[in-house]
């Protein structure tokens, strides 16, 4: 296995592991939103400005989970493609070697077609991989976007929380956990993107 193939395997595998962490965090956000909603309800008028924010956080968490679920399916496709590309590359190299070893054998020429065919399917795999990576990067960008939005909401939540009297502390804790979660998502997704960006369609 060449280093290029090895790192491609690693890059694809790392997406799945980074994303499973994102999933955990997104679920935490969703929980924080439910928690905030309950507090805001109890706080009544004092947390009026907070209520629409909790709905928004909840929605954002749900969307992130959905996105990540889709990306995970995509990552599996990418993994299969990597396996496929590896097999095709091995075959192409072995076919070429066979053609070379055959030298002036009576039927040496008959190896040309399999060699050509193997080369084309290997290149096909490489192209498809690049195409799929570009699409996956687009989806990861969407998750990043969500994470950035969550951080803005967290900042707003802090302001609203400051007007919530005795509920200040618990609402601030909500804002804090949303912010932290958004930060983690951002970092993890960023790592996925860096790992994949060298394979992007250029």
């Amino acid at each position: 296995m060449t280093n290029q193939t090895k790192s491609q395997f690693i890059a694809v595998a790392s997406i799945t592991s980074e994303l499973s962490a994102v999933m955990v965090v997104a679920k935490e956000i969703s929980l924080a939103a439910a928690n905030a909603k309950a507090i805001a309800f109890r706080a009544g008028d004092k947390a009026k400005g907070f209520q629409p924010i909790t709905d928004f956080i909840n929605e954002l968490a749900k969307e992130t989970i959905e996105l990540v679920t889709n990306i995970n399916i995509y990552a599996l496709v990418l993994y299969r493609l990597t396996v496929n590309e590896f097999q095709k590359t091995v075959a192409y190299n072995k076919f070429e070697l066979a053609a070379k070893l055959a030298g002036d054998a009576v039927y040496a020429k008959s190896m040309q077609e399999p060699v050509e065919h193997a080369k084309l399917s290997m290149q096909d795999c490489q192209r498809q991989f690049k195409r799929d990576v570009s699409q996956l990067l687009g989806q990861l960008e969407a998750v990043m976007h969500h994470a950035r939005a969550a951080r803005v909401i967290a900042a707003n939540s802090r302001i609203e929380a400051s007007q919530a009297g005795e509920y200040l502390q618990s609402l601030q804790a909500v804002a804090e956990s949303v912010d932290k979660a958004a930060h983690t998502i951002h970092d993890n997704v960023q790592r996925c993107r860096i790992a994949l960006s060298i394979y992007r369609n250029s």
């Binding site: 097999q87 072995k94 070697l97 066979a98 070893l101 030298g103 039927y107 040496a108 008959s110 399999p114």
Partner: protein, 242 residues
């Protein structure tokens, strides 16, 4: 790869082996090819490492598109781990292998090649006008295992039965049977699990008219050495590791 024609009649048998380019840490294997006018059958085509030299050697006898049939006596990697590569090279081929191992052998990838499962009681492979018999050899050593008998060429291909592990320059035929025995003893005692299976197989094979007994490793037996081998094997206690 060394090539030795072992039968020439209405069709041919060619033995391939003693590959000089083989890494020293993988077991040396014999591959056999049955060639008719327009078709070609590879018996125990070998491991993935051996694919390129084997393919190159076959091209001295047949074009790629006439390699229509593969046979795997059992599921071992030295027998058939090249399957995934043949699968990508051949567009119109069948693999004849124990039905029992289908789910296992497909791990090597078998998509364009058609898997023709051999039932436990055996069967035949028809190659134009040649009909080869698939003789059950279960537990010798694999639990689902077949040998190939050609009644016209009087050749019995026996997989791991009759094998010996020797150096790369070993002659292709046994020349001095009594000297050869010591090279076979440990292998057969260790790899063959069942005295009962051995007895049943020997009874079955003694009824066949055999000129050449062709194992997957080491040297072939011809003429009187075939009977000598069967007698020796008959008397040997196997399954000795327990």
């Amino acid at each position: 790869m060394k090539m030795t024609k072992i039968y020439e009649g209405s069709h041919q048998w060619i033995m391939f082996g003693r590959d000089e380019g083989k890494p020293s840490n993988i077991i040396d294997t014999n591959q056999y090819v049955v060639r008719t006018a327009n078709r070609c059958l590879l018996l125990d085509p070998g491991g993935a490492e051996l694919f390129a030299p084997m393919m190159a050697a076959v091209l001295h006898h047949a074009p790629v598109d006439q390699i229509t049939d593969l046979f795997a006596s059992h599921q071992d990697p030295d027998v058939i781990s090249s399957l995934g590569l043949w699968d990508q090279a051949l567009t119109n081929a069948k693999l004849h292998a124990p039905a029992f191992w289908e789910g296992f052998l497909r791990h090597y990838s078998c998509e364009s090649i058609e898997y023709v499962g051999i039932p436990d009681n055996g069967g035949t492979i028809k190659l134009e006008s040649v009909e080869l018999q698939l003789i059950p050899a279960h537990y010798l050593h694999s639990s689902a295992n077949f040998h190939v008998y050609d009644p016209q060429a009087k050749i019995l291909m026996t997989g791991d039965v009759g094998a010996a592990i020797e150096g790369p320059d070993t002659p292709v035929f046994v020349e001095n049977f009594s000297a050869h025995v010591e090279k076979m003893r440990h292998w057969h005692q260790r790899i063959m699990p069942s005295n009962q299976a051995k007895r049943v197989w020997i009874e079955r094979v003694r009824n066949l008219d055999i000129d050449i007994l062709a194992p997957q490793h080491g040297r072939m037996f011809k003429g009187d050495d075939v009977k000598r081998f069967l007698d020796w094997f008959d008397a040997l206690q196997v399954g000795t590791a327990v």
